[in-house]
Point group: C2
Chain length 174, copies 2
DNA sequence: CGCCGGATTGATCAGTTTCAAGGCATGTGG
DNA sequence: CCACATGCCTTGAAACTGATCAATCCGGCG
């Protein structure tokens, strides 16, 4: 069991049911830390979406460092608490939001986190997005098309998206 | 901002959308700790479901204690990581499970955690259960009736449930 | 006894899924 | 350089699960 920090690339962490249904809990981008909640029962799996480079530390090693240095212990707690906050927001999305609201929330999250250019360069497929949002890939595709038709966003290839109207996305986000 | 531990009773923590839709992230029972992920943006609200008694510590105070004592820091991290694990399992439920699977999972979770008697004495209403499982209260009620008809459980009043066949519940849990 | 909130049950509706077909890139080999 | 295969995405039509609307029931309590 290790704890990872991404330097470049992107990773998805997810859980699966025996019959193949998958729920992606989070996408991890450069700078992000994951592996903090080692579930021995239902394991949380991590996979790179694109070519990725990570730093990692053994859990035990980090525990020793935290025991020795209170600042490290504090950061460890803060980082875990951040993951928990994200999970709590995501439970609201999965349990109570409509398809459009979910997609809008996803676009805004990626817009916030993929700070690169004006255009979002999504590293993940429609299926990944669907499994993150608790939808089917068809519903994700349809919803994106619908937002395109409404002039909220533009495509330059399926994974290159420009947000034209963040305001209306914010409204959809509920 | 405080961190709480329940001594007796039961608490629900949840998030709400502006239009009133609610998602309960967790039910907290005696011994449980909550308040570890203080979201400044979307606040996480906590309410007692029944008469409840809690211990609480100021966040800052706990931080100081953690800085001074590595054992406390370690427990703090472990507890937060446990909440994160629960949230990850619950995301899978909310994003990918069917109504019956959700209700089965709920019953088994409560069976595991309410260790008192043979009979489950649920402290929460159907609406609370629904908001925890991302369903409507009607669907929860119908699903429980269906499980009753199948002989999986018995009622002694709406909130007093006896599990007759944990094995089949486990199968439904997927 | 009658009220009241919570729970059950029924009928219909709607959003999302499922099933299915077709399109658009990208890359490979003839 | 083009034909064709492949993977991913889009679009359409039908089906289904769970939601909504609505009525009734039950249990506790004044």
């Amino acid at each position: 069991e290790y704890i990872y920090q991404i330097s470049t690339g992107a990773v998805r962490t997810f859980k699966m049911l025996p019959d193949g249904r998958r729920q992606i809990g989070a996408f991890h981008l450069p700078g992000d830390v994951f592996g903090l909640a080692s579930g021995t029962v239902h394991p949380l799996t991590a996979e790179a979406i694109v070519e990725t480079r990570v730093h990692f530390v053994g859990r035990r090693c980090l525990e020793r460092a935290a025991a020795a240095d209170a600042a490290i212990a504090s950061r460890l707690w803060a980082t875990t608490a951040n993951s928990l906050r994200h999970a709590e927001d995501h439970m609201l999305l999965l349990g109570r939001k409509t398809a459009v609201e979910r997609v809008a929330a996803f676009l805004l999250e990626m817009d916030r986190r993929l700070t690169s250019a004006k255009m979002l360069a999504l590293p993940m497929s429609r299926r990944d997005i669907a499994d993150y949002l608790g939808l089917t890939l068809e519903t994700v595709s349809r919803t994106l098309s619908q937002l395109h038709a409404q002039g909220v966003l533009d495509f330059s290839g399926a994974r290159q998206i420009t947000l034209r109207n963040r305001h209306s996305l914010n409204n959809l986000n509920a």
